[in-house]
Amino acid sequence: MRTISVQKEDGNQIAIHAFPIDEVGANERADFFTKRSVKKDSKINALYLALSMCDLTTLEGADTPGRVKQMCAKARYPVPPEMIEPFLKKKKWGPIPSVAAVCVYPSMVPVAVEALKGSGIGVASVSTAFPSGQAPLQVKIDDTRFAVENGASEIDMVINRGAFLSGDYQTVYDEIVAIKKACGETHLKVILETGELGSYDRVRLASEIAMEAGGDFIKTSTGKVTPAATLPVTLVMLQAIADFHKRTGKKIGMKPAGGIRTAKQAIQYLCMVQETLGPDWMNPHMFRFGASALVNDLLKQIFKEATGHYYYDKVFSID
């Protein structure tokens, strides 16, 4: 097994193992979770849980305060309560949960914080010159500080893929440490951009570096690169989290992002998390979906379960 070495701030060297991953085997194991059958009560449970784990996201050059406010309204009430509550009452189900967080660019953080005041919904800000990460470290730190100072509760940073692919793991590690410092108490999600890494071996190594450097969450993708999240890539990261927990006792969260559009897919991810990490990860503090389109499909399926009918797309607001 390959082992890389990075120097910590205090000058000590730490060894990070590059655990090899067999691609065929990982794909096969991930495929196993598409065969799980989640029906009846467990399906309702899964749909509610998945909805409460969503990070509603807008990351466009065209974002405006108006657009962000609209999205924040949807984050609080993914569907107007009066539309569904009579059905839920009949079934004795709880109210539709709000999503876990909204995810925006740093410039939009003040707008989102204001719009979500008192809701308990998190405001996640991408930072570190998202999505490419091609900026000097100081710019990345300032980017992060701005978001934190304006009230972001979570930071989604990108790793330096240029450094990673050229074998400069020290720089990758140092940058995450620096951003973690800039975050202070704010939760840090580290985006590996797995679609640019080229192999599961590297996804595993990048996960190890991100966790060793202090990331609270590891996240697959920016959503700007194809492929984004896939089941096997997420599995490789979940297994890294399990091993890290075993080694250090620290529980790292996971966020697959991009490409998860249907309730069916979301449930496959939940089965995989449950069977790989267990019940401690089955909540929005430890697992998130970075997926906006997913919210409406989850709602559609909840409506189906509650009313017995599939409602057409126009019933659900776009954002």
Partner: protein
């Protein structure tokens, strides 16, 4: 909010089980002359499913006569025509896949997930594959003249009732032989449904005859003077009796028997995938697999970590109702097999291996056994030498490649082996030195009709599947 799987039970409405099942001779379902029937049990409940005809020597004789009568015409049919029948059978199997899968699970106890996703698709694949060979036999062995053997007697086990039927019947028919086949007495139902499919496909009468029953029925096939070849899959004990019985005859013989196959995990393996492979290797189909990876050889440097991961993974296995789509491990096929497994586990405990079983409960009704392993097992222990044919794994360690190979080969069997390493040269070196018929690298229990299957030493002789699978059914000049 706990995330759990609600029961997701496959409906059994699709299958119609005849309360009294007759023999299939000369294209028709007929009463046994013995007038005797016995019960087949649903191992997941312990309740009887149906009555099965008990064929005696006279019934077997009628079946052989029907096969002999059908032989000349079937053998003379062009390969293309025979292939056409096989293709038709394969397609009907696909159309009736759900029915076959549900029935297989009811009678055998294997999880519906496996009968649906593994057994039945492979059954269809085998018929498709050998349908393709039927008109190409002259190219199978270039420069040689090939002829069918005549009437072949086939005896198959209960662990993959349909799949073993396909392994036996498809190549025999492709080569122009006619068949008298006996399923295991605990799993006769699915092959009788296959008989209905033969009827639906218009397969000529007498080409395949199915005689149900236990050891005596099998003995009647083995000892019948008008049978040209015996193909047997089952235990080494029974194989010894068969081999003695045919010793003074001109019957051809192939045997596919037991194993005590080793899964070798080197320290440079992709560990997560190796754990999954070991689990699949031993707990697939409740461990009722002749090529099951029942010995795990771990490089000492990773042994502790690997065993830990294995334990974690085993806690997540779901043992229970085989009809539940989320069940990973179903029921042991019969009370007798269940008792045999428990006895071997007991002897393992008394020999001093470190026993582990997961903490979850298993159903108390029906024949269920927890997946388990014995760690730090010595090569001298019975668990390292005796085939358990159940969900019981024996773990020991090695220090060098040479020791791994030596230990893997330290067995009277030689059916399969697995090698796990990310280093290609090591995989090849190890594989070349292993005395086993099937060797998997960085995977396990992968089956394909185009790939020959069979063993060395007490695992038997002859190959099934692939081009090699044709040879035992042909007279080659």
């Amino acid at each position: 909010m706990n995330f759990e799987y609600a029961p997701s039970i496959e409906s059994i409405d699709i299958v119609k089980i005849d309360p009294k099942n007759k023999l299939f001779i000369d294209g028709k379902f007929v009463e046994p002359t013995s007038k005797k029937f016995f019960a087949t049990i649903n191992p997941a409940t312990g309740e009887p499913l149906a009555q099965i005809a008990d064929a005696n020597a006279k019934d077997v004789d009628l079946a052989v006569k029907a096969a002999r009568k059908a032989f000349p015409k079937w053998a003379k049919l062009s390969g293309k025509e025979r292939g056409r029948y096989l293709f038709r059978i394969a397609r009907i199997i696909q159309e009736r896949a759900r029915e076959l899968a549900v029935l297989e699970t009811l009678d055998n106890g294997k999880p519906i997930k496996e009968s649906r996703d593994v057994d039945v698709p492979l059954v269809a694949a085998h018929f498709f594959y050998y349908a393709g060979w039927a008109d190409k036999l002259e190219y199978a062995i270039p420069g040689k003249d090939t002829k069918p053997l005549g009437v072949v007697g086939q005896i198959i086990p209960w662990n993959f009732p349909l799949l073993m039927a396909a392994w036996k019947i498809a190549p025999a028919l492709a080569c122009g032989n006619t068949v008298v086949i006996k399923p295991a007495e605990t799993t006769s139902l699915s092959i009788l449904l296959l008989a209905q499919i033969f009827q639906e496909a218009g397969l000529p009468e007498g080409v395949v005859n199915i005689v149900t029953g236990a050891g005596e029925t099998g003995a009647a096939i083995v000892n019948h003077p008008d049978i040209n070849k015996i193909a047997f899959t089952g235990s080494t004990e029974v194989a010894r009796i068969i081999q003695k019985a045919v010793a003074h005859t001109d019957k051809k013989l192939t045997l596919e028997l037991g194993g005590k196959s080793a899964n070798i995990v080197y320290e440079d393996a992709a560990i997560e995938q190796a754990v999954e492979g070991v689990i699949n290797g031993i707990y697939f189909n409740q461990g009722h697999v002749c090529c099951a990876g029942s010995r795990l050889l771990l490089e000492e440097s990773i042994a502790e970590m690997f065993v830990d991961k294995l334990k974690n993974r085993m806690e997540k296995l779901r043992v229970g109702n085989p009809l539940d789509k989320n069940t990973d491990i179903g029921a042991i096929n019969s009370a007798a097999e269940h008792a045999k497994i428990m006895k071997l586990v007991e002897s393992g405990i008394s020999e001093g291996g470190e026993y582990f079983e997961p903490s979850f409960a298993i159903p108390s009704k029906g024949y269920f056994h927890k997946p388990c392993f014995f760690n730090k097992v010595s090569s001298a222990f019975s668990l390292s030498r005796v085939e358990v044919f159940g969900p019981v794994l024996a773990i020991s360690t090695f220090r060098t490649t040479a020791e791994a190979i030596m230990k893997a080969n330290d067995t009277q069997y030689g059916l399969a082996a697995g090698v796990w390493s990310e280093k290609g040269s090591k995989v090849h070196k190890t594989a070349a030195a292993l005395k086993a018929g099937i060797i998997w690298a960085n995977t396990y229990n992968k089956f394909d009709p185009s790939s020959p299957f069979g063993g060395f030493n007490e695992s038997g002789f002859g190959r099934e599947g692939g081009r090699h699978g044709l040879f035992p059914y042909l007279s080659i000049k």
